[in-house]
Structure formats: C-alpha cells, structure tokens
Symmetry: none
Subunit: 230 residues, 2 copies
Amino acid sequence: MATILIVDDENDIRELITLNLRREGYDTLEAADGLQAMKKARKKIPDLILLDLMLPEKDGYSVFRELKESNLTQNIPIIMLTARGKLDERITGLSLGADDYVTKPFSPKELLLRIKNILHRTQSHPAGTIIEIGDFRLDKNHLVLHLAGAAIDLTATEFKLLVVLIESGGHTQAREDLLRQVWGYNDLTQTRTLDTHIKRLREKLGDFSHQIETVRGVGYRFISDGKASS
Amino acid sequence: MATILIVDDENDIRELITLNLRREGYDTLEAADGLQAMKKARKKIPDLILLDLMLPEKDGYSVFRELKESNLTQNIPIIMLTARGKLDERITGLSLGADDYVTKPFSPKELLLRIKNILHRTQSHPAGTIIEIGDFRLDKNHLVLHLAGAAIDLTATEFKLLVVLIESGGHTQAREDLLRQVWGYNDLTQTRTLDTHIKRLREKLGDFSHQIETVRGVGYRFISDGKASS
DNA sequence: AGTAAATGTGACACAATTGTGACAAGACAC
DNA sequence: GTGTCTTGTCACAATTGTGTCACATTTACT
C-alpha cells in the first residue's frame, strides 16, 4: 500500500499520526527535521508527505522547495501541517503548491480523510495514464492492468483492445470498428485475430472475464459490473 | 573563491554589498539592470546571484526566468532581494524557485550568513549532482555509481542512460524518448545501441540488474524496489 | 430437433522484439 | 606510434507476441 512520510519535530504528534496511519494499512516513514526528511524521501520515495511547517534547522518552506526541485520527489503530493490556521501560512502553503492543508490540532479522522482523498486522486501518476473503472485499473504507461489487487501484464495489442472497449463506455463496438481502431485494418479483411485476442484477454481477466460481453453478429462490449456504469 | 553576481539598480546598495563580500574574500560582479546581468552572467558564470526584484527595463522576474531557462545559468542559486517583505512577492519569489529571499533593508551580516549557507549546501554537492534512491547513489560529477557500498564505474553514456531512467520516477521511457534524451537522436534512426547499452548497464548492475525492466514494445523503466509501484 | 452462421478454443508457424557476444572505428593518454 | 577505453553496428540467439487454421461449441432461426 501507499507509503507516507511524516515530517514533524514533535515526537508525540509523529507517533500519533504513525499509529493511525498504520492501523489503516499505510506504510509510514518518520523524520524529525528537514535533513532527515530529505534523506528518507530519497531512500524510499513516499507516495505522500505530511509536512510540518515549524521545523528546527531548515524550516518547512525550505524542505518543501527542495522536495519540489528534485526530479525524484517533485510529483509527490504534500499536505502541510501547521500550528494554527494562520492565514498567511495558509496562503503561502497553498500557493507554493501544497496539495492540502491541515491545521493543528486536527482529528485523526480528518487527516485520514484528506490523505485518502489525495492519494486517490493523485497516486502520483501523470495525468491521463491511468484509467480506472470498477475493479479495473489500467496503467497506460506500463501496459499493466491492476485487477482487484493483482497486477496483470498485457501485451501491447491486448492492452489497446481493452482500452478501446473500456473507453467506449458500455457501448458495443462493432468488429470492424475494433479492427480499425486496434489493428488499423481498414479493408474488411477476413480475419479471426480479434476473436483470438478477446479469448486471450478473457483468459487473463480470470474471474472478471464476463465483463467482456460478446454481442453476437455485431461485436463486443465492456460492462462495468452493474455499478459504476456510464 | 566563489564569484557572486550582484544585480541591483541602486549604486549605493550594489557597492555596499560588493564591499562586504570582497572583505570576506568573494569575487564580485555587478550589474545595474537585467540586460547587463545576463551579459555578465554569460561571460563569467557566477556561483551565486543576488537579484533585486525592482529593476528598470526588464524586471527581476523576467531576469530570473531567463536565467533559469538558460542551460548555462539554470543551476546557479539565486537570492532575491526586495524592498519590503511584501507577502505576494515572497510567494512569487519562492514559487519561481529562488533559493532564498532577503528583504531590504537588511544587515550585511544577515546577507552574508545566507550566502554562506547556500554556497555551502550547493557547492559541497553542486546542485543536484547526487542522486540517491534505494541502494543506488549516483554521483554526476564523477560518473560513479555506488551500489550497496560498492563503487561501479560507468561510462558517460551508461551514466546518462541510468540517470534518465531513474529520474523518470518509475515510469516507462519509450525507446524513442531514451534515444532522444541520451543520444540526441531526433529522427527515427534505426539503431540497436540502446539495447546494447541496456545490456552493458545490467551487466554492471549485477544483482540489481532486474531493476531495469523492459516493457516490450515500449521501452524500459527503472523500478526502485521489488514491487511494481507508482 | 435440425441447420447454418457466428464465436470460442487450442495448436502451431512465423514475426517481431530484445538479449548477447564479437568486432572495428574513433578518442584519448602515454 | 602503442595500448586502452568507449561506442555503435552487426549477426545470431533467445524470447515473446501475433495471426491463421482446424475443430468445438454456442446461438438464432426454421
């Protein structure tokens, strides 16, 4: 699951947060000051950072800037923590590019909520490389399908086919359309490769294979399992 | 010793700073406006730039951006000077990527302190020349890779390739992109040199070679751990 | 039921991609 | 010059992906 780096100089608070996050299944890293934070972040790149603005030595701003300057860490979402809802800090934090902002004292519940929110919407993926629908999560970058937790490798063609099906939002795609979109066949070539690939896809989908439905005489469609339809 | 470029339109202030810096043993360059600043910076690349935000002609922001856009100067740390601690300027300065920020009037002592600070942290490890991730530590200056303690010599090309892979943060880099970024090939040259270099890199990585993963039909990616993350 | 058409399936051949070792040209130091 | 190092290319090997085929199964229709 996601790894979260907690940067705060107060031990109590750090531990409190750690405890709460661990209970929810997150991995946690802790740092008491900016230097430690940078070190840990470089060692194991976290998925999200909780950053206290009041730090000894290097203050939170500097750490923030450093994180945003490094290629390795600049895309990690950051939630700022601060002692009180001082307006100026709030402004500074957000305009610097922090992804959210929580004022101490805060309830663990509130913090968790925000973390979930942010992780869900970012998961540190560049926009548009992830398609999520139901239990399916397609990573266009790696040609990997995450299905109910498991990672499934797809070949380029399989991937393309699945994407086209999924992106047509529950509508049936005609055989010819699929052949055109996935294979670039423009003539009505007599080929069975589509059938074969559908079969291979279903094989890899395992229990979820029924979500590719064949519409006899027309083509295929992807059904998103009753719920999250579109 | 270090050379510092001072950009300010007020002669008095420029001279005051120059005096103080010289006394500390720094070399100084002066510029009264943005144009001069760019010229001087190109002539003798300074180790640090003090940049006033209020300039005639081109304002400080433009100069800043120009400096950051040029290959020659983009890594030089910049300390912004400004007439007052106006909040909005502070924000702009920091979010543009200035390394520090001093408000006029300032005491020479304060300025010197900040200069020392920044020079110290940027010169011991000139901006971003060390990349650390997992067991990998790359020293851009020496083209050396420290892997779990052992020092491994890499050639220039191997090094560049590894850096590009690592810096893309777990994302797959397409073959063409790698060829463009590492070799500067812009045409779709038919070459196998990428494959060869990947092989050589993996050879040198030994037990860690699996961290360079091939994504068939696309390119390669660096994975920072056993698991498929991001 | 019986039949024809459409689709599913497994095996196979070959296509395409990537890995690998050898080699030669160039760069560079000595 | 010689020797070492680096780099790109090549031929070939290994691996993986893809399309076709024959045959099985399902479906729509009479």
